[in-house]
């Protein structure tokens, strides 16, 4: 290339090609302050408050779009616009923690004056540069982001699979719904950040979730409630009589999340989902976005409750079946992974603190969580139980002398009653064995039996609650 030609091309490349359609964030981007209750599951009766600052953007119908992250436990939400100090109280109109999307509204009509909604992009670019905007100290901060890839990934807030746009950017401390634009098109909201990488909720996914919210009954997002493994080893399909290479994945578990689902069996080789051929890595060829993991097919074009056609190889023959897409629901997990907008549950009896085993409790224990709790937290079912209860600690008192070091023991029985939930404890303690309450823990743990005085328990519980300034005996 001649030097002069190169210089001209270089100058052209430096020109702002989209200048005429560049986004002006001043009239649509807002700063959100969420004040919320926060809990420490190790001391579940203590309520702290926290504030989260994040971003939102005006979309149609006087709605402010943001991510659901940071809203759990919220009781006050205030919004600033144009970088001004005035704060408007906002109402949380709708939130979907599974999708990680929330809609806010502001009642004060002044807020909406001269504010301009933006449109969600109808398609997602897969290469090139985007712009990230947010408010910082009353000024707009703008950072460039380079697209890395569009892929199928898990929601930050749940196990739901959906399209995710990953970009790289030098922006710091992001992941709080900073808005991402391609020219004047809203491409998405940031959902999480790690070093210089950001995961973005793409506009197409956001639009679909909002459409669901606006539709009658709000069906919610679906989830493929099964696990599968690659069938790329040709001997694996061949051992099942399927003489094709590089096709399909093998179902290894169904009902993984305890959701209702129909049709699939362990050992099936999934060949097609919703008309798309599935390769041996579990990917399909998306007409818009190329190779994507099949998990996002649950949310790409469907809502919970809809039937999705599957083609599987089973018992040496091709079968076609309709998979009724179950709605994502933490409440169906044997060990619930998350609990949004709910305080931690506990029950104190004679200074013994009982809590249900769930994701937030395990998270509070951090990396050093007891291996046995870790193991049971991964179980899908257990005998006839519908949950597990942990003795998470003991508040020392003369009454429970000798048991003060006990913690993180899984409760098996109290007075001969199997314990699945905190409510079971109440019933079990109402039927002491003679003069005593007898508690048995799971046999694999470090301790099997303890005994407590039944008659003295109510007074001891009252004394301990008073001594430790605990407002209530239980939170169910």
């Amino acid at each position: 290339m001649k030097p002069l030609t190169a210089l001209i091309l270089g100058c052209l490349a430096a020109l702002p090609l989209r200048a005429e359609t560049a986004y002006n964030p001043e009239t649509s981007l807002v700063e959100i302050e969420v004040t919320k209750k926060a809990y420490d599951y190790r001391t579940p009766w203590i309520i702290r408050n926290e504030q989260v600052r994040k971003n939102g953007i005006l979309i149609e119908d006087q709605q402010i779009l943001t991510t659901a992250d940071g809203f759990s436990g919220q009781y006050l939400c205030r919004i600033k616009q144009r970088g001004e100090s005035r704060q408007y109280t906002a109402e949380l109109v709708w939130i979907d923690y599974y999708a990680n999307i929330a809609i806010l509204n502001v009642a004060d009509s002044e807020f909406w004056e001269e504010m301009v909604p933006v449109a969600l992009a109808t398609s997602i670019p897969q290469s090139g540069e985007l712009q990230i905007y947010r408010w910082r100290n009353g000024r707009i901060e703008q950072r460039a982001a380079e697209i890395i890839r569009l892929h199928s990934g898990s929601s930050k807030m749940s196990y739901v699979q959906h399209l995710v746009l990953t970009v790289s950017s030098t922006i710091q401390s992001a992941g709080w719904a900073e808005v991402v634009f391609d020219g004047d098109q809203l491409v998405g909201l940031t959902a999480s950040a790690s070093k210089d990488r950001l995961n973005i909720l793409p506009a197409e996914f956001i639009q679909k979730v909002i459409d669901g919210y606006r539709s009658e009954g709000d069906p919610g997002l679906g989830y493929f409630d099964f696990t599968f493994m690659s069938a790329r080893n040709p001997a694996l399909p061949a051992s099942k009589g399927l003489d094709q290479r590089d096709v399909g994945v093998v179902v290894t578990e169904t009902g993984t999340r305890g959701l209702t689902q129909h049709g699939l069996q362990v050992g099936d080789i999934i060949l097609e989902v919703d008309g798309f051929a599935i390769d041996s890595e579990g990917q399909y060829l998306d007409p818009d976005y190329g190779r994507l993991a099949m998990g996002s097919l649950a949310t790409r074009a469907h809502f919970a409750g809809e039937s999705i056609p599957f083609t599987v190889w089973r018992d040496g023959a091709v079968h076609r079946l309709d998979y009724t897409l179950p709605r994502a629901d933490f409440g169906q997990d044997f060990i619930p992974e998350q609990r949004y907008d709910q305080p931690p549950q506990y029950r104190i009896a004679g200074g013994l603190v009982f809590q249900p085993l769930n994701g937030p409790l395990l998270e509070a224990l951090g990396k050093n969580k007891p291996p046995l709790l870790d193991y049971y937290s991964q179980q899908k079912t257990l005998d006839e139980r519908t949950g597990l209860v942990v003795l998470s600690g003991v508040l020392p008192d003369d009454y429970n002398l000798g048991y003060e070091d006990l913690r993180y023991l899984l409760v098996d029985e109290i007075n001969g009653h199997k314990i699945s939930h905190l409510e079971d404890i109440e019933a079990a303690l109402s039927a002491p064995q003679g003069a005593y309450h007898r508690i048995r823990f799971m046999p694999e743990g470090g301790l099997r039996h303890i005994v407590l005085d039944a008659a003295a328990m109510p007074a001891a519980t009252r004394r301990i609650l008073q001594h430790y300034r605990i407002p209530q005996q239980s939170q169910l």
């Binding site: 696990t227 493994m229 690659s230 790329r232 080893n233 040709p234 001997a235 694996l236 061949a238 051992s239 093998v250 290894t252 578990e253 362990v266 050992g267 291996p371 046995l372 870790d374 193991y375 937290s377 991964q378 429970n400 002398l401 000798g402 048991y403 003679g434 003069a435 005593y436 007898r438 046999p443 694999e444 470090g446 301790l447 099997r448 039996h449 303890i450 005994v451 407590l452 005085d453 003295a456």
Partner: protein
């Protein structure tokens, strides 16, 4: 968690014991009173040595040419200080007696002679405190340490409290050779190679081979199989899980998609709970494929004729004397 340690009596000294000192004699008044074996990072001017009674136990054990190790009673002893629990057991509110909370497996004599919630009053004539300790040669030590004073197969005298009465009995003690958490310390590890897939027994030694960060490399289910399932009962305690240790790569297994460190549960429909099960299942395999199922639910397969051909090449390539060592 110390999955590969047994608790034995040790003596603390104010002499610093540093790396390289291990195995050195500890001398007092011209006599060997111990063997130095460990210091502790952060603990200044302190070291630990193995006392004479442990050394004598070791030497006596060796006299028949077979080293058995230190026996255990197979019981979990816990303190018994709660007034309600003492009252429920009919015990006086004093400092005597520790509770047997659970019986471990496989200790058949223990299960025959002892029950959960028996109270240990004396061990080998030493009164047991409610904290589970005995005064042994002027030191307060846990009563379980007395069990390691006798040899494998010998008995120890116990006085217990059961059903509101004292009871004296002689409890035979054994070294639990089935205890995988102790590791296979004195024999080379067993292995079976199937088409380049190297299977071995899940043990503490195996986990140790994964390095210091072994906990990050194995799932909770693997740890459960090694440590916790033992406590469920005799059958479970005797099961010796088989783990896929590594894959010797070959064209016939290059796409095998189950990762190393997975626990094998079935081969060609045959349940696998020990290396012997796997050896038999391989020997009696029929059909065109080896079909594997793992604890995670994952399934995989190898073409059997290709796997057999691969084995011969791999043995030569990696200088392995045979496809199995049990």
């Amino acid at each position: 968690m110390q999955t590969n340690k047994s608790n034995l009596l040790a003596v603390q000294t104010d002499a610093a014991i540093n790396p390289g000192n291990s195995g050195g004699p500890v001398i007092q008044d011209g006599k060997v009173v111990g063997v130095s074996f460990q210091g502790k990072p952060g603990l200044e001017n302190a070291g630990f040595f193995i006392p004479p009674n442990i050394i004598r136990h070791f030497l006596e054990d060796l006299t028949d040419g077979i080293y058995e190790g230190f026996p255990a009673a197979g019981i979990g002893i816990v303190k018994l200080t709660n007034p309600a629990f003492r009252a429920a057991l009919g015990l006086a509110q004093n400092n005597i007696g520790a509770r047997i909370d659970s019986l471990f497996y496989p200790f058949p004599a223990t299960h025959e002679l002892l029950r959960e919630n028996d109270v240990l009053l004396e061990v080998a004539g030493y009164p047991v405190g409610s904290d589970g300790n005995v005064i042994y040669r002027g030191n307060s030590v846990h009563a379980a340490l007395l069990f390691s004073q006798v040899q494998h197969g010998e008995s120890i005298a116990l006085k217990i409290w059961r059903d509101n009465a004292e009871l004296e009995l002689e409890l035979p003690l054994y070294v639990n050779s089935e205890d995988r958490t102790m590791g296979n310390q004195y024999e080379p590890p067993p292995f079976i190679i199937v088409g380049g897939l190297v299977f071995t027994e899940l043990s503490t030694n195996y986990l140790g081979s994964l390095g210091r960060n072994w906990r990050d490399q194995v799932g909770a289910d693997t740890l459960y199989e090694l440590v916790y399932r033992n406590r469920l009962g005799d059958e479970a305690a005797r099961a010796k899980p088989v783990v896929l240790s590594t894959i010797l790569k070959h064209a016939s297994n290059i796409d095998f998609s189950v990762d190393a460190r997975s626990i094998l549960t079935e081969l060609n429909g045959q349940p696998i709970s020990s290396m012997a099960d796997l050896s038999a299942a391989v020997e009696h395999a029929e059909g065109d494929f080896y079909r594997f199922r793992f604890l995670s639910g994952a399934v995989e397969a190898l073409n059997r004729s290709e796997a057999l051909a691969a084995e011969a090449q791999l043995l030569q390539q990696y200088n392995i004397p045979s496809v199995q060592r049990l």
